[in-house]
């Protein structure tokens, strides 16, 4: 009798919600996380607050993890990687590796929740000097500072008087190869801009953008308050390059509204880096034999109406393993992938027992 267990690969928001859902629906789930703790990017990268409302990230993610670790049907394997996949849909055998050695795990289905990584601004074609200038940082670096309630210029420890965000770094770029919009950076930058304004009321905060992409309620939840209540200055015109001048950074771009060049001195520049498939997403896709899209994310087999099924039966994906996703997307698709995996196993059992199959997608 094949296993009714579902494996969830990755313990970030999407994987946690998938595992929680599987266990709550009465199936055994094994959550496999390569790092030593659960929580994914928000924990590993020290997110201060989650978008859109800015509630502290760490307690929320810890609570999500607890809902999995305290469920008797869920088993969590930390610091563990999947290094082999054998078998066929409905009857897979995974080989797991940890410091304790290797072991095998029989599962009926698997959910890939392997997530994204932040675009590395050193790989940019734009000249933003992330690695050259200490005061050029990325969104997640600022998250770390905000979490400590201390935003200072890395170069000299001083409080910035002018700080700007540069949008679309590593996204929407044919040259880089990431032709997609990373979807969350406009909201995240605006949320961080609000947090900087609250922490440092004397610091002027600018956001340079091509076009603001505030999906749905983010418009009124983040963008409008950032502008109207927190006086964040949005400037239409992307920054082309960052140059040093004395102890300042000169951001050069086009003032699109007025149709003229700008060269503005800033104390700190925050690069709104986009999302790329994580190393884990690339590796697990190959291992599980599921198709990837040209950017390396898991390719949803029949998007948009079934966004979590992969090219291989019994293997589902969720969260940012599928492409840029915000937290709402991630947990929604986590639950979605969980129910798909369970319905796959139940259908398999029904067929084996000669009962009428429930419909699988």
């Amino acid at each position: 009798m094949p296993s009714d267990t579902v494996a969830v690969i990755g313990g970030g928001p999407a994987g946690l919600r998938a595992a929680q859902t599987i266990a709550e629906l009465g199936h055994r789930v094994v959550l496999i996380e390569q790092h030593h703790e659960l929580g994914g990017r928000p924990i590993q990268e020290n997110y201060a607050g989650i978008t859109p409302h800015g509630e502290p990230a760490e307690p929320l993610l810890r609570r999500m993890a607890e809902l999995v670790t305290t469920n008797p049907l869920a088993e969590v394997r930390l610091s563990t990687e999947v290094i082999g996949v054998r078998g066929e849909p409905g009857d897979f055998t995974l080989t797991l590796e940890s410091v304790a050695g290797t072991e095998t795990l029989d599962v009926g289905a698997a959910v890939l929740a392997t997530g994204f990584q932040h675009f590395d601004p050193g790989r940019e074609t734009q000249m933003y000097g992330y690695y050259e200038f200490p005061d050029v940082i990325a969104l997640q670096d600022l998250e770390g500072m905000l979490k400590e309630h201390k935003v200072v210029r890395p170069s000299n420890g001083e409080t910035p008087k002018k700080l700007c965000f540069v949008q679309c770094v590593g996204s929407r770029d044919r040259h880089i190869g990431n032709e997609y919009c990373s979807k969350v950076c406009c909201g995240v930058a605006s949320k961080e801009a609000i947090e900087v304004r609250q922490l440092l009321p004397d610091c002027q905060v600018y956001i340079f953008y091509i076009d603001m992409r505030m999906y749905g309620y983010w418009e009124s939840q983040i963008y409008w308050p950032a502008q109207e209540k927190h006086h964040v200055q949005y400037v239409k015109g992307i920054i082309t390059e960052v140059l040093p001048k004395g102890d300042k950074l000169i951001v050069r771009g086009e003032d699109t509204t007025m149709g003229r060049p700008m060269e503005l001195a800033m104390d700190m520049v925050v690069l709104s880096v986009g999302m790329e498939p994580s190393a884990g997403t690339r590796k697990m896709s190959r291992l599980f034999g599921v198709a990837q899209n040209k950017y390396g994310f898991v390719r949803a087999a029949s998007s948009p109406l079934d966004p979590v099924s992969t090219s291989r039966d019994g293997i589902y994906a969720c969260g940012a393993a599928l492409g840029p996703a915000d937290l709402e997307d991630a947990v929604s698709s986590g639950s979605n992938a969980a129910t798909k995996a369970i319905s796959f196993i139940r259908t398999r059992n029904a067929v084996a027992e000669g009962r009428d199959a429930v419909v699988t997608g």
């Binding site: 502008q227 006086h231 200055q233 949005y234 001048k245 509204t257 003229r260 060269e263």
Partner: protein, 432 residues
């Protein structure tokens, strides 16, 4: 910085601001947008959001910062069509450090409300402009020609600086007796609030005479305040002189207190606007009609003795149309005139262009000339001609003189500019 594998030290190139000196005003004007590319590139090198802090301290001016740069305002801004303007651009100027209280842009807006009509963020220039102008005036930044009008209004109770005792002089050759309440104070149905340009401007006086003849022939019981009348002063308020306006409210309401009337009828959409919107806020509520609203329901009583065989187009006054939603009454009147063919311009009703006279623009023509390629009234006259009109019909006292000047200056002398009252009066055969 690695470029093609070689480390090249970057340098910053700063260029001077490109300006030209106006041959008219002698003022140095920064060259915006496409024009500056013909000179040295004008690089923006400094920004400061302090301008917004200053505006946010002025009640009413806060919403400029709400602009998110969609740009919908720019194509409908009447000033942008003849210059570089629009709320979005003002927002950007303030964002880059311009002190709006000392900037000429503060005086170019005609408060026509076309931007507010299309603005998704409700950036409200109708509130922003008077607030910013009031603060600018307090800092001593006010165009001289506008200051003169404020002083005339303060001293004489009218924008033209005319003798208040001669306010009813136009009635003498109107062909009928016009009752002045001070001389004959018994209750009256319609208090005809003539306002400045129908009282004093020669072309306005012709319309005033036409209007009283029409009322007379329709049996309307009406009277005027005569020398006791002072301007309602709404354009002075929008031009930044709230104090002057408030004092006029007190004087006007005290005068009105002394007489019994059912309703006020005025030809001036600006006065109409203030009487129905600003006066109630200050505790004075009246039944107020624009003169076209008085006449439209009386069309069945009008006896026509002639026809006006002409193509007529109508210019919606901003303060009757967009500000107060009255588009039908003037059109009904025009369409009632025998022989008259009403031809609508492309920009009409909600989308109507502005004559340039509102919000103090009436008194800023010389100032505005430095920043615009032509007058708004000239632009509008050319549009009327494009649509094949023989007559441009108006119903705001500012407009007859503005458009007649514009017809001459654009070489369109054949286009006649007539107040609707004049057209009705002629078709009813009253003549002069």
């Amino acid at each position: 910085m690695p470029i093609s594998g070689k480390k090249v030290d970057p340098t910053v190139v700063e260029k001077d601001v490109a300006t030209v000196r106006s041959t008219i005003s002698g003022r140095e004007v920064e060259l915006p947008a496409m024009w500056n590319r013909m000179f040295e590139p004008r690089v923006l090198t400094e920004t400061s959001a302090e301008g917004f802090e200053k505006l946010n301290a002025l009640p009413g001016a806060e919403s400029l910062e709400w602009c998110y740069g969609c740009g919908k305002c720019v194509p409908v801004c009447p000033v942008d069509l003849v210059g570089e303007y629009g709320p979005r651009k003002l927002h950007r100027k303030v964002q880059t450090g311009t002190d709006l209280l000392a900037d000429p842009g503060t005086w170019l807006c005609t408060t026509c409300a076309n931007c507010l009509r299309v603005c998704p963020k409700e950036v409200d220039m109708i509130q922003i402009m008077p607030a910013v102008r009031e603060a600018a005036i307090q800092e001593g930044n006010v165009p001289a020609e506008l200051q003169t009008v404020f002083e005339s209004t303060f001293r004489y109770g009218n924008a033209l600086g005319a003798n208040p005792r001669r306010r009813a002089a136009w009635t003498r050759d109107s062909g009928i007796h016009v009752r002045v309440l001070a001389d004959d104070p018994h209750p009256v149905d319609v208090l005809f609030y003539v306002e400045d340009y129908w009282s004093y401007h020669p072309r306005g006086q012709q319309a005033a005479k036409a209007f009283v003849r029409i009322m007379h022939s329709l049996g309307v019981d009406f009277a005027i305040l005569g020398a006791e009348e002072k301007t309602i002063g709404d354009s002075q308020r929008l031009a930044g002189e709230r104090g002057l306006f408030d004092s006029l409210v007190e004087q006007v309401s005290a005068t009105l207190e002394r007489y019994e009337f059912n309703r006020i009828v005025t030809p001036d959409p600006h006065a109409y606007n203030a009487l129905i919107k600003e006066y109630p806020k200050r505790g004075h509520t009246y039944d107020v009609l624009h003169y076209t609203q008085l006449l439209a329901p009386l069309i069945p009583k009008m006896h026509w003795s002639g026809t006006i065989e002409a193509k007529v187009t109508f210019h919606d006054p901003c303060y009757l149309g967009r500000h107060n939603g009255e588009y039908d009454a003037p059109r009904k009147l025009l369409q009632a005139i025998p022989g008259l063919e009403l031809v609508e311009m492309g920009r009409c009703k909600e989308t109507a262009y502005c004559c340039g006279g509102g919000g103090g623009g009436m008194w800023l023509d010389s100032f505005t000339r430095d920043y615009t390629s032509e007058r708004l009234s000239e632009r509008r006259v050319r549009e009327a001609v494009e649509y094949g009109a023989d007559i441009l019909a108006v119903c705001c006292p500012y407009e007859v003189s503005r458009f007649e000047d514009a017809a001459k200056s654009t070489g369109n002398e054949d286009l006649l500019v007539r107040d609707i009252a004049e057209l009705i009066d002629a078709a009813m055969g009253h003549g002069e």
